[in-house]
Symmetry: C2
Subunit: 457 residues, 2 copies
């Protein structure tokens, strides 16, 4: 029922959109969402709608579609229409879309690429040379640029022409380069629009306070994470990107930074829970289920390791069944305290709030908090165990093992992500499983071991 209502609603919106009959603007993301609803119930209708999209809309929508739907698009839409759609996109988006198509059908992607304008092919080739983590992979090559000696009015006339030809949009700053294409100045449009247009850029800069137009830039081989930090620190709307020789090669705009921040956050949250963000986005039961099962297998393995530890003490448990009742508490508290530490460390590493320079003070802080909480919960749980089973030494045993396990939780909760980061592995991936292995094993071993030694020793 809900599905049917969804379909009807989406159908209406898409049809109004196609007839240019909507009261409100519809963003590509929203249009893609409605098209996905239609695809779920009626693939033919979906294709029919996609065929009616303008080149511009088709490109914008295509980059929003997950692989299994994009697959239908590239099979059913003519190569000419796809080529036009790609050419309407900015170079970074065009590169991404071609990459997505290549992941589905390499041959088709090559054909499409070959059909593009030479200049466009050059841009895409250049962008594809960058690694996924590099700033260059996220930039677009379309920039509003002027020469130092040029007159402001000439640059504005050029901007007007570029805009009329649909070559460029979302301009917030003009970048000024010298004869070697080296980036020299970065001038916000708000300063340009209030300036005397008959001046050269050189004259404009000389009239301004020193360093006023000194550009804040990124290198194309900087990590995208460091670019995000720069954008956030300086509240930028756009960052120019330069190559190793200082030449302006592109720009990254704030809306791309938004998307990366959101994606990074989703990836972190998912990875901490043993979920793969890309598999989830595929939106098919099989992909999501398979990737989750792989994590659960890893977890099963570590749970069995913990059980082996319990197995060592089976006779102790048979003699004292209260131990079986209480042992999950120690493991659970360790797991939770460790997850707190782990999560804070992973997130603060990602935000740049902690690094290797202050790793030691992070560890000291985390172990201190865990130690203090360990003592508190040792006293609380010791008292509860005593009142529950009327056995003072049982309280001592659970109290001691609580302190030991929470200290380990704090230590490894901080150490695991810091070590992974040092090894250049994403500290969010797999760290939760590693941590709970430690807290389960230490929790069971310390509790049952102390019990054997103190209660039965």
């Amino acid at each position: 029922m809900a599905k049917l209502k969804d379909l009807k609603h989406s159908q209406e919106i898409i049809e109004s959109y196609l007839q240019d009959d909507l009261d409100q603007e519809l963003s590509p993301a929203e249009l893609a969402r409605h098209l996905r609803h239609v695809h779920k119930s009626d693939v033919d209708l979906f294709i029919d709608y996609v065929k009616q999209l303008s080149s511009e809309s088709l490109g914008d929508v295509a980059i929003e579609l997950p692989d299994h739907i994009l697959k239908d698009v590239i099979e059913e839409i003519s190569p000419e229409q796809l080529k036009d759609a790609i050419e309407e996109l900015e170079s970074d988006d065009a590169t991404d879309l071609l990459q997505n198509i290549e992941d589905i059908n390499e041959e088709k992607a090559q054909e499409l690429f070959d059909s593009l304008d030479d200049e466009y092919q050059e841009d895409i080739k250049r962008l594809r040379r960058y690694d996924d983590e590099e700033a260059g992979a996220y930039m677009q090559t379309e920039v509003f640029v002027a020469k130092v000696e040029e007159k402001i009015s000439d640059a504005i006339a050029r901007l007007k022409q570029m805009k009329e030809e649909g070559e460029i949009e979302n301009i917030y700053r003009l970048f000024v380069v010298d004869d070697y294409e080296t980036l020299r100045f970065s001038i916000p449009l708000e300063d340009l629009i209030t300036s005397d247009f008959s001046l050269t850029f050189k004259a404009l800069v000389e009239k301004a306070p020193e360093d006023e137009y000194q550009p804040i830039f990124a290198r194309d081989d900087d990590t995208i994470d460091s670019v995000i930090e720069t954008v956030e620190n300086y509240d930028l709307s756009v960052v120019p990107v330069i190559d190793y020789q200082g030449r302006l090669v592109g720009r990254i705009t704030a809306d791309d930074i938004h998307d990366i921040i959101q994606e990074n956050a989703t990836e972190q949250i998912y990875n901490l829970a043993g979920v793969n963000d890309e598999a989830e986005e595929e939106n098919t039961l099989f992909e999501a289920g398979k990737s989750r099962a792989m994590w659960l297998f890893l977890n099963l393995f570590t749970a069995i390791v913990a059980s082996l530890v319990i197995g060592i003490f089976d006779e102790t448990i048979q003699a004292y069944v209260a131990l079986a009742v209480l042992m999950p508490i120690v493991a659970s508290m360790g797991g939770n305290a460790g997850t707190q530490t782990l999560t804070v460390t992973v997130r603060q590493l990602a935000l740049g709030d902690i690094d290797f320079q202050n790793a030691k003070s992070t560890i000291v802080k985390e172990v201190s908090i865990a130690g203090i909480n360990g003592v508190i919960f040792a006293l609380v749980m010791g008292a509860i165990a005593f009142l529950w089973f009327h056995e003072a030494m049982l309280g001592v045993v659970i109290g001691l093992s609580m302190v030991i396990n929470l200290l380990c939780a704090g230590l490894f909760g901080a150490l695991i992500p810091l070590t992974l980061k040092r090894l250049d592995i994403d500290p969010a991936v797999g760290s939760t499983v590693l941590l709970t292995t430690v807290t389960d094993v230490v929790g069971f071993f310390s509790f049952l071991g102390l019990a054997q030694w103190i209660l039965l020793g």
Copy 2:
């Protein structure tokens, strides 16, 4: 050692900054970070540096400081210097800073507020009337605005003057209002700079394609989350904010949206792990430790509930100690599978990818994945248990309870956040504890109950 090196490095940077002697620009966020390093080791030196900051820097830095450091600033810095710093800030930041000061010292905040210009007081009063979740709370009142009948050149002359007086910065768009202050058009500077300045705005708009300058806006009582969605969907650099009568009252810029996205993500990640983001930011052991202890108390309570369930079956365990060895595996697998579902649901709710309209299909999807994985792990774990303890029926018991617990994990992993959201409670807060209570109780009860019935029955 690391601390000392940190201090030295920060001292050098701050001193070069104060002498205007830095090669590179230093953002307020970075300056605040170095000042925090100094504060950690030497409060007097910290105050000494802060006193030397310009009003502009002082304001920018002050909003970046955590409460316990800001406290020292407001105690040691003269009210005049603080007033100047607040007046240098944009209205939204000024409001935030005053709020932070009020949290520390209400009287001081009132004194500072009273010392501000009347116009400034009005703006702050208006912004403070908004709820934390409302768009209005995040807007600044400084906007570049023009009347429909005005000439473009007149508006640009006004912008020039406002910029010279330091009243406004980061202008990306001009907002055009009618005689009732109603927002009519939103014109990017890139279009303005390439236009004929002798035209009126009315003439400019009439020459453009229909709807070209139709504003995408937010209402001041919209939720900030919906504003974030709008900004992302339309790749905006700035959103105008209107009141219930359609009058332009302020704007929200992309850099503020960045900060909110990051903060929301941090809050979600932390809340899922039982960590309070505000307490962690305080950066004092006591605050962070206290807030974490409160979550651990809640977890202790639920762990005890799970133990009570185990306690019901103490005789069964004594008869079959293998049950004690195996039972944590069932609980652990349920907890992990449930956390996967919970995390995906929480995050997709936050990103607007799922809502109540498609809640049912989310639940169906999650239960299906959990069910399939339940069957897989039932077979795997059943076989392992059989091989380990040479008891076929033990394999059947753990297999059945695995299916039951994973189904519950999928069901409650989706239901808990959806229900919390429906009740207008943040679905990330407390949901993990609720979920693991379910998976622990169901895990232990189904496994031990089935064992009692099948093995001993």
